[in-house]
Symmetry: C2
Subunit: 254 residues, 2 copies
């Protein structure tokens, strides 16, 4: 069994945040599998096949890539950000668990990348500087009630919250509902960071308060960070403010 | 005001996971500030000064670097992993908030890196494939009762948990106490991943069950991932098992 499969994290979007390890895997692969906009970021190479699939087809993409690798090829599955955070690595593992036994003999490597919450946080300061959680708002794969329960638990325990997949055409109301729910528990002055398309030409990062946050400010390419009660905004001279969560916790908010 | 300060994430430890953006900042800086073992990873460059400080001295290091940058230099503060996750970015923001106003006029850039939980997760599969939280077990900067409260909340809500700073010489019992607490809530078969020194020559990543996990297996260089009730282990032929958390949640665990 000589087949190899690499699940490669491209990072937030610019080549300056692609690791040498990821770059080498993309260069060495016989074939690339991925969502079109992610594949578009990878330079074309002679004799390398590309298999584009739609955003929602993670499992089918993983199975196609594993089938190809099991024929002896070196196959790379590309992921935006980090493949282990709401992305392709879990889909590949699921496919291996449920697929033919021969897939368990493949050489599978997962190459990490800068996930969106780290890229957005870096642009604005250190909002994830203390304990935090990462939560996907997509209710395609879990019940909405569970998402609400997790939002409540995260706020109750004082975690900063990084929200992935805040909304999409098929999920227009969920992000607004999440913001309403957060407003029940958190002060309206709580900082909220909208980070869109970080590292790409249309990048936009902004800071608002939870009270002023407009759910329409987010789209599929947006990562939202909800501060905790401890998160602070530092105004600066002629520069965007810094948002950070202090490392030390001085009082417990129940 | 021409001073610049970059807070640079080195990633988990090998040059293959250092981003080009981080590499360029390290090459361009007039001076580097950091904890000795992190500075040791950066190639020496002629005419670049190095200021080594101890692990616990984040705030003093940040102030020294800001003072130096305010004199017009280009200063880089290095961090292992990602500077925004339990590392130097928050210390720099704190210092700016509490320091002289002139520090607010500096050009401050934070350059993200692959944080330990992403590196460890990638080595073993996709344990962070669904909602998760990142929690520092250090009670140097927050009360132990709050750490227990956050562990309980995370387990109650079904989050996978990435534990940073599980123990140190000065904090010998905390990780054992955390594992005992988790055993009250989670099945003993829950997968636990110990990831030590990923990307470095002495790397060691292992999977055990919560019931069998030995607190003595962790040290200061270890990142621990505690699975949720949904996390699965996929045995393979002549290979280490894959550990992953499915993207879909089929039932709500209260």
């Amino acid at each position: 069994m000589t087949g190899r499969l690499a699940v490669v994290g491209l990072g937030p979007g610019d080549a300056r945040s692609l690791t040498p390890e990821a770059d080498a895997a993309l260069a060495a692969a016989d074939a690339l599998y991925g969502y079109g906009p992610y594949l578009d970021r990878v330079p074309a190479r002679v004799a390398q096949r590309r298999h584009t699939s739609d955003n929602r087809e993670e499992r089918a993409r993983a199975e196609a890539a594993l089938t190809h690798a099991a024929q002896g090829a070196y196959v790379a599955v590309v992921s935006g950000g980090d493949p282990g955070v709401f992305a392709m690595a879990a889909a590949v593992c699921e496919a291996i668990e449920c697929g033919p036994l021969i897939w368990r003999a493949l050489d599978v490597v997962i190459i990490p990348g800068i996930t969106a919450m780290l890229a957005v946080a870096a642009r604005i300061g250190a909002p994830l500087g203390s304990d935090f959680c990462a939560l996907s708002l997509s209710d395609n794969l879990k019940p909405w009630e569970l998402i609400e329960q997790r939002l409540d638990a995260a706020v109750g325990a004082g975690f900063v919250i990084a929200l992935y997949n805040p909304l999409s055409r098929a999920r227009p109301w969920q992000f607004g509902a999440a913001m309403e729910r957060l407003r029940r528990h958190l002060p309206s002055a709580t900082p909220v960071v909208f980070g869109r398309a970080v590292g790409r030409p249309d990048e936009n990062v902004s800071v608002v308060t939870l009270g002023d946050a407009d759910a329409a400010s987010a789209d599929m390419a947006t990562l939202v960070i909800i501060g905790s009660r401890a998160t602070r905004v530092v105004e600066r001279l002629d520069r965007t403010p810094l948002v950070y969560t202090p490392r030390a916790v001085v009082e417990v908010s129940a």
